[in-house]
Symmetry: C2
Subunit: 195 residues, 2 copies
């Protein structure tokens, strides 16, 4: 039986993030991570498939979690509002799981490989949002327009939150980003509504 | 000197679209296209690099054209409005060049290879929009939020226009799509502004 390693997962993650930040993600090996953490390769393998998994464990569940949340949203909500409430709900769960968001964000920004992976992850979020909206009865053209806008809001909010993780919650950042986008789309001199 | 072929380019394109629609893009060869058009491979090569080029000739200029149009937009315009006016301007140019938009759209929808290509083309549009907005003085966070929204509007408008090419112009469809998005983001019961 392997010895129980208190907080082994967190120690490995902290060691990996330190090394990725210092030397660049591409230049760090699993051996270096386990050495820095004072743990074995075998312990590493109990928690992570590979070094990428240290950064993204659980993120493959994101599109499905967002789609589920859209499906559970109050049926009385308009499509955009249902999408936004789902993104905020999943944002709260995600924020609890991402340790060190600022470091995470800096590491991804410095690696073309990880950025590429991020792009395809967000493309999946867009697909999941579009399918979940359609499932909810939103017409196909509207779902196809709203889904990438939801992803853009989610992504921009994640970036803002990662830069100030001690500020507002990720859920609030998602709502604030959506409000900022809506405000930026309002014409400078709105026509008077005379109906 | 090769003989001048009146409308050779258009004949090749029409032949290619007919064959792609009938047999699927992946199953059609350049030889079949030239045979259907009654022209030679040599004539084909004068106009197109390969069969994909028949569908997408000139589309590699799209990101640059959009970025240029953002740069030329009235400096007094807010970022979103500058982006929208640039997309509408390029939309008009593009509409003049895309023959048979409905057929084009159906062919792309039926081919995973072409859809993949479309995704990366739109990712380039997003990058170009973000860079052009930043160049114009828009702060980085706002540019990163607006650029994918601009691409989503452009893409949704293209789809709508392709389905009804004899309806409103692509430029008007872009403006109408942006207005529909803005309307869908407005809260159902807006809070009274009491300031």
């Amino acid at each position: 039986m392997p010895r129980w390693e208190p907080q082994a997962r967190d120690r490995l993650r902290a060691a990996a993030l330190e090394l990725f930040l210092a030397h660049g993600y591409d230049n760090v090996t699993v051996a270096q991570i386990t050495e820095r953490a004072g743990l074995t390769r075998r312990t590493f393998s109990r928690y992570f498939a590979d070094k990428r998994d240290v950064l993204f464990a659980g993120s493959e569940e994101l599109p499905g979690a967002i789609a589920d949340a859209v499906g559970r949203a109050d049926p009385a909500l308009a499509p955009f509002d249902a999408m936004l409430s789902a993104l905020a709900e999943v944002g709260d769960l995600l924020a609890d799981r991402v340790g060190y968001p600022a470091e995470h964000s800096a590491i991804v920004a410095a690696s073309p490989e990880l950025q590429e992976r991020g792009l395809s992850k967000f493309a999946e979020v867009t697909r999941a949002l579009g399918a979940a909206l359609a499932q909810r009865g939103t017409d196909a053209a509207t779902a196809a327009l709203l889904a990438p806008v939801g992803t853009a809001i989610f992504r921009a909010a994640l970036d803002r939150w990662a830069r100030q993780p001690d500020g507002v919650s990720l859920a609030d950042q998602i709502r604030a980003t959506a409000a900022a986008l809506a405000a930026s789309m309002r014409p400078a001199a709105p026509a008077q509504d005379v109906t």
